[in-house]
Point group: D3
Chain length 134, copies 6
């Protein structure tokens, strides 16, 4: 199910197929998941989103698995069931163990709780925590 249905490979324009090919080559898989097939109705969005994803999720100063954990933490906080399901699988592929998942979830739970304690107790920023004015 998707707002405009899915753009399957065989019905896709060459431009969309090129993105699909790059997704499969990069991920070493032979299928395209629903997210890409749903947004492919807007080829510009597809291209931009894939290129950003590819670049941003690649290992750098942070490992690939740490980036997946951060992505998952955001999706859990926002409550996006598709994103949680998809990135739990990709995090595992990149090395997330059960223990890492548990620890990430405990941090996410506690951060969501403490964020609200701060809001409700109306806590002002300590001088020591303020970033520079310039």
């Amino acid at each position: 199910m998707a707002t405009l249905g899915f753009v399957e490979y065989k019905n896709a324009s060459p431009e969309v197929q090129a993105v699909y090919d790059d997704i499969m080559a990069t991920r070493k898989t032979d299928w395209i998941n629903n997210f890409w097939k749903a947004i492919a109705h807007d080829p510009e969005l597809l291209k931009r989103t894939w290129e950003d994803t590819k670049q941003i999720m690649a290992p750098g100063a942070l490992d690939a698995v740490v980036k997946e954990l951060i992505y998952l933490a955001v999706s859990v906080t926002n409550g996006c069931p598709y994103c949680v399901a998809a990135h739990t699988v990709s995090a595992r592929k990149k090395g997330m163990t059960d223990k890492m998942f548990h620890e990430m979830m405990s941090v996410v739970g506690m951060a969501n709780e403490n964020n609200r304690l701060v809001n409700g107790y109306q806590v002002d920023i300590d001088e020591q925590f303020k970033p520079p004015s310039k």
Copy 2:
């Protein structure tokens, strides 16, 4: 500024002082930040929150700095200025470099964007991503 004002060390009950002492000893600092002084009006909450924080944020399967990055990612997503300011500082103390911060922020920005693309394009979960029924 805080809903009930701040509980300063010298005016605190022995039970609250014990928590303050443990915070300073654990963090090797000689001051208590506003968050703890604001919630200390509820000593039970103070104790529970500190003990959870201490345990959950300690290094385990994930490094201390990775846990701080996840905490920060949640706080940035929820928009909690105090939490962002405080945990940016503690993440640095635990080893976050500028480059790590930049990469975390790019992942957080993209996850927040993609979560909404999924919502708006009404993307169903692929069979491959579904967790087991049992």
Copy 3:
């Protein structure tokens, strides 16, 4: 499925039927969607919500389709699957084309991303953007 089940037309009180009649007359349809049938257990809420909706979504300084796009943008941001499904259909009825949908979604995605960049980089409001004090 709904918390208290649905209030069907034939079982509804005259007061609820009057709202249902006005919804169908205004929308030129012969059925009532689940939202109204779910909240009809609280006739006061039903009446107030329908009257507000009718007035607020009517064309004014903004076209009806622009109002639907704004409604959709909020529902996508909050992650409300029912609201996204329902208002995608009503936006189309009021003239939303695929291209308008795509552009709305790109703006929503980017705004959700940039909102977090602002949070994480702790950006202060420029003097030029501050509204008047009086």
Copy 4:
């Protein structure tokens, strides 16, 4: 105030200056607002964000002012004070009148309310609102 301080034009690398120049040329202004100066510490992020903004916010199937209203609706929903302040000013520049602002705000308020009524009354999606399976 910003996490890493601001990158002022005179201290910026040629690559960052080029983006600043394009921002000022596109907007016909002679200053750079804090958002860009805060994220310029990550030149890649700066470039990508500006290029996306420039393309996505340009008039297309939707007017520039409608895009600003959608951006504002998202920022109001998420509660990002900087974003609301900045985009209220840019929406005005692109033609937002007081009446348009009022109508946008009424839609945003009502959508946020109705999203929660749907959540709380646990309303299932009507068959008529479901997008195609294929």
Copy 5:
């Protein structure tokens, strides 16, 4: 500070003054807080919002203080500093004690945590919790 500045009593139209008078009479105060003076630029919104507030927040099956606690819990969850500050004061006026505030905050913190545990562990609804289909 407010987007369009504040509408002070002496400069208000008779229609806005009538709402202001009713606010002060209902609350037994002699001043109008910024919220009303900010939205008074849209007299229809002012009237609708005040009438809804007056009716919804009045004691019914729930005490006035319980309604304030619920309002506060939502505002804390959403992170609206103005709303938290204003409704902390009004909750106190209606009888909120420190102990009630503490207990409310503990529930809010835990609910925000548990909501995310559910999201991340992808928990399906038990048959026993499903509302009726009809």
Copy 6:
């Protein structure tokens, strides 16, 4: 369905069984709902979450039903379908009537609306609402 499947009683460790036993004894039921069986993969999280829940949701300065209403209000605001379904049922068990549910939902809807009016109209906190600096 759950990320790691469910930990059923008969396959659980003694430590997990002890928590399950306490849940059933406290609630006077003979089954364990999915939430606990999903997080039981992390026994420490299970234990901590149950002990906090048991203590925080017990009647104190606030009735048990008021605490459930607050929990529900947060879950409705965040859009957590599992949490809404589960806590609607437990709120009823603790005495929530239809009328109490309706009134809670009206407050939640309005608070979510007004939170955004405050954000969009950029309303500053009145001096009278500011908590003490000390």
